[in-house]
Each structure stands twice: as C-alpha cells, then as structure tokens.
Symmetry: C2
Subunit: 317 residues, 2 copies
C-alpha cells in the first residue's frame, strides 16, 4: 500500500493542490507542543477527498469511462467525484442522504453530477448504490473502501512530511477510515517513530470501538455535527489497515468539536468543517496529551453557513 501511495502522488501531481501547513503560537502554547496543521480545507473542492477520488477515477481505463461512475457519499466524496468526472469528462451519479449539508449537495450538482437523494433512516446507501449501478452499468467508486481511494488519501501525509519533516504524533479524523488508513500507512513508511491516532466524535465512535474490540462495530446515522463521520462503520479494507498501522483512537464531545471550529475561525482565520476540526478538538479538550512535533490533518472546510452561524453564536458551550 505504501508503494500505491507513492504512485498516487505522481498521478496527483499538478492536479491536486499542494496545500499549505499552518502553525499558531497560541495553539502551541495552549497545548504544549509544536502543532502543524495540514490545510486540506484548501484542497480542490474544499477537502482531502479530491485526492482519493482523482486517484481512483484516473485509473479507470479510457475504454470504460463512458459507462460513468457511481458513488454514495454524505458530501465531500460526492463533490470530489463530481469534480473529477467533469475534469476527465466522465458522467457521474451520486447517492446522497436527504440531510446532507445543502452546500455539499449544491456543489456536487454544480460540478455536473446527477444527485439521487435517499432517507438514511430507512435506506442503506450501499445497497441503493449497487442497485443503481446494476441498472446503469456504472463503475462504483465508494467513498473509502477502495484501494485507490485509500492510496490517494495517503498522499496528504506524504506532503505534510515533505513540508515539515518527521513528526512524533499525527492526528487524523476518522469516518469510514479512508483518510486514516492511508495516512497511517504513509506515516509508517516515512517516519516509523510517529504515533498515529484516529479521532472520532463520541457520538460516532464505531471505529474506536472496532479498534479496541478487534471486531468491526457500527453506528446508525449518529447525530453528530461532524457530518463527515456519520459513516456506519469502517470498511472491509480500511479496518485491517487501521488495526495494523494506527496506534490509538481518541474521541471528543460535540462541544469540543464546536470549540475547535471556533478556535480555528477566530485564532487561525481558517474555515474548517466540524469533521475537519476533530484533531484540534482532541488537543484543546485534553482528550489527548501531545508531546513534541504534532501533525493534524484539517480534512475539509465545507461547512454550511447556518451551521457555522450556530457554532459562532453558541459561545457559551
């Protein structure tokens, strides 16, 4: 898998942004470590998901591309597949829950994808996606449980390492585990002494429980503000990679997530969506005691105006 990440880096050259790394004296003083924030909120379409989607879609042989691509996603992977489809002139169909943030649905449609909405309380999205795929004959690029997607996501850590050197600790948000597994494999390959920790909302802690029990656990449409982590479980591919390469998990409260989004807004002047702020939430809340040089992947910045407005006004947390 590490070789696949290196190959993905070549494929993404000139296509993905090399996102900047930001630091903050205030954050370092507050948590007692040197923190490096990898700003994937500045990635194309506003999240790391571009990396995996481009890597996976670009590997579809030219002769197969007219069949189109089908995927399911609560948001950022949907936008990523839609954008890559437009770039490579491949039709895309995206299955999206009715409660996905409006900004993500509109952006997906804006990139030219056909959006099919469903009710997550009553419908399993993977089943629905396979039905649609069977009808249309499209090629399925799932949001995380696909080797090319995982390899693409791992490139963010390659870049971070090239930008700031070895780290002692790497904090990565975890939904379905595509970013976390790719990041962990990349970190192992580059800096074996770096501790890799996945961060989840307490309300959606299926990965942490899976990691601790050794058995894949699930959640069902958890009511966390971190919409990127509402995935039902780790994947069949991501779970074993996480078992092999991740050192630990931390979980954070909804209040801690909101505080992290506010901190990034006021102190760093960065727009980061709740899922993207999980690593910062783990440090600010004390869920994790850092030491030395810390990397955090700020995974995305696609937050609805009303959601941000509520977080900013709700300062009594």
């Amino acid at each position: 898998m590490f070789e696949a990440i290196l190959a993905a880096r070549e494929r993404l050259e000139g296509q993905a942004h090399r996102t900047p790394v930001m630091t903050s004296r205030t954050l370092d003083e507050r948590v007692g470590a040197a923190v490096h924030l990898k700003c994937e909120n500045f990635q194309r379409m506003g999240a790391f998901k571009f990396r995996g989607a481009f890597n996976a879609v670009a590997r579809i042989p030219v002769g197969d591309r007219p069949r189109g691509v089908v995927t399911f996603s609560s948001g950022n992977h949907a936008q990523a597949v839609a954008l890559v489809g437009r770039m490579l002139d491949i039709p895309t169909t995206v299955i999206m829950p009715r409660d996905a943030p409006r900004i993500k649905r509109q952006a997906t449609e804006g990139y030219g994808a056909e959006v099919r909405r469903y009710d997550p309380a009553t419908t399993d999205r993977e089943t629905l996606a396979r039905e649609i795929q069977a009808q249309q004959g499209g090629i399925m690029i799932p949001p995380y449980d696909h080797p090319d997607v995982i390899a693409g996501q791992g490139t963010a850590t390659l870049e971070l390492h090239a930008q700031v050197g070895d780290l002692d600790l790497l904090l990565v948000p975890c939904g379905g585990g595509g970013l976390l597994s790719g990041s962990a494999v990349a970190a192992r390959g580059l800096m074996p002494g770096c501790r890799v920790v996945g961060v989840e909302p307490e309300l959606a802690d299926d990965a942490a429980r899976s990691f601790r029990t050794g058995v894949r656990q699930t959640v069902h449409n958890p009511p966390t503000i971190a919409d990127g982590t509402r995935t039902p479980s780790l994947g069949r591919l991501t779970f074993p990679l996480i078992q092999d390469h991740v050192d630990d998990f931390a979980t954070v409260s909804e209040a801690a997530i909101r505080e992290a989004v506010r901190f990034l807004f006021y102190r760093l002047k960065l727009v980061v969506e709740p899922s993207g702020a999980l690593g910062v939430a783990a440090l600010l809340s004390g869920a994790l005691k850092p030491r030395g040089r810390v990397g955090i992947i700020l995974s995305g910045g696609n937050i609805d105006g009303p959601t941000m407005a509520k977080i900013l006004q709700d300062e009594a947390d």
Copy 2:
C-alpha cells in the same frame, strides 16, 4: 519613503509573519484575471496593522520606553500596539470607541493594554488621545498618520512582490490611508507599471472624494459594516502620499462587501473581516474591471462571530 519601507522590512524580519498568497481558480474565472490574495488575515493578531505598529514602537529609544505608548483605534491597530507593547515590555493605553467589535476590544485587553472607551458620536478620539497623552506623558503612535506606521504597512507589498513578481493592478482597502499609502509607495518603487487602486465602502468614501477633489474630505462615524474604514478622513501625511502614488479609487456597496466576505468564506475557506474584503468586493461587484495579474491585500480577519453569522445567514443580498 521607499527606503523607509525597505528598512522596516529588516526591522520586521522574524517578528511579523511572512503571510501566504492564495489563489482561486473560481475567482480568476469569475473576474477574468489572475488574482493573488495577500493573506494579512494570517498576520500576527490577525491584521496588517502589526507591521506598522511594530515598526513604529520598535523605533522608540530604550530610554523613552518606560513612558509607555498611547494610541486611538477602532480595533486592529489597538490590538497591534497592545501586542507589540507586550513583546517589547512597554505599557500601552488604547482609546477605543464604545461600538468597536467586542473581539477586538477583548484581544486588546488580552494583550495587556489599558483600554479607555469613548462615545464616537460625541467625542473626537484624537483630542481625547492627546489629553490622555498630556496627563500620562506617553508616546503617541497614531493608527495611520505616522511615517514609521506607513513604512511598516508598506512591507506587505514588498513581500507580495517577492512572492509573485510584477503585478498589473494592486487593490488596497483604504481607511485612514496608512496601508494604501505605504502599499502605493512600495508598488511605485518595485513595479512602476502597476496600477494602484484604493477601495472604500460607498458609505465611507471620504478618501475617494479627497482624491478626486484634491481637498481632504471627512465622514462622521459612517454606518458601514467595514469597521476598519470608519476613520474620519485621510491623514496629513497619508493624503499627499496617496495623491502622488495612487492611480484611482473604487467604492463598493455594503451588499458587495458582504458578498465578498461570503465568497472568501465558502470558496477560499478564509475568514476575512469586512474591511479586509474590500478589494475582492470591487472585483466581484464589477466596480473595477481588472486585467492581467492582480494583487489584493486581504488586510485582516478579525470579525465578530455575530457579524459573520449575520453575513452568512443573509444570503438573499
């Protein structure tokens, strides 16, 4: 003055952040030019004002420093002087209007300044500042009408030029004219072919009127959302520098300012205060037709939560 800007750059080395320059494919497509955003919202204390304040305060002879520094400011200069005072161990007193954004007042107090509030409807801040200065014997560092302050502000354009090369057009927000005059002098010295345009809110267009009439015009506490431009007039030093080195002015509506703040939030994932978004507002609103390579100084990011919440929720502009 150009030599003074070069000297200020030396003085600021290792003290001010070398802020990044961001670009956006979407912005470029929308306005038909290659736009380079100089992110002074990422400057220390969140605005370019750190540059001028540090340059001016650092030039106070060590023997005079115990007298302390006095200033008046609607916000960002206040924070800048307070932070520099803390860095250089100099006591600071700041005269601030009662309606200044809370985030700016709290940050100023947080850096250890003594804040003296006044009612801008009934009191002239410069007179009040001089009274306090006379009582306390402090050294006055005004927010813009001071050669060392102007020279410090000019360093942002030196950096932008070093980062991206020659520009055809440079857009700079204008309140009291410290940033604009410093930027214009720097641009003249480095790239004589670059057109320099000041941008003001329509509601606070005193500088544009002064520039056109050749006589310094005033406004009185204008009700613009761009609080950094609520200054009553250009200064005695900044006005002639602007007459000599600025090519033109553009003015923008309140709706255009809000739209620019939203655009920077949603598309660039940047937190920019209304005054800082004036250059982007001029382009997006069509107030100015750009060509070629454009530089815009995003002057600051210190926006109150409630103000941002209102801008994000008010999408029917």
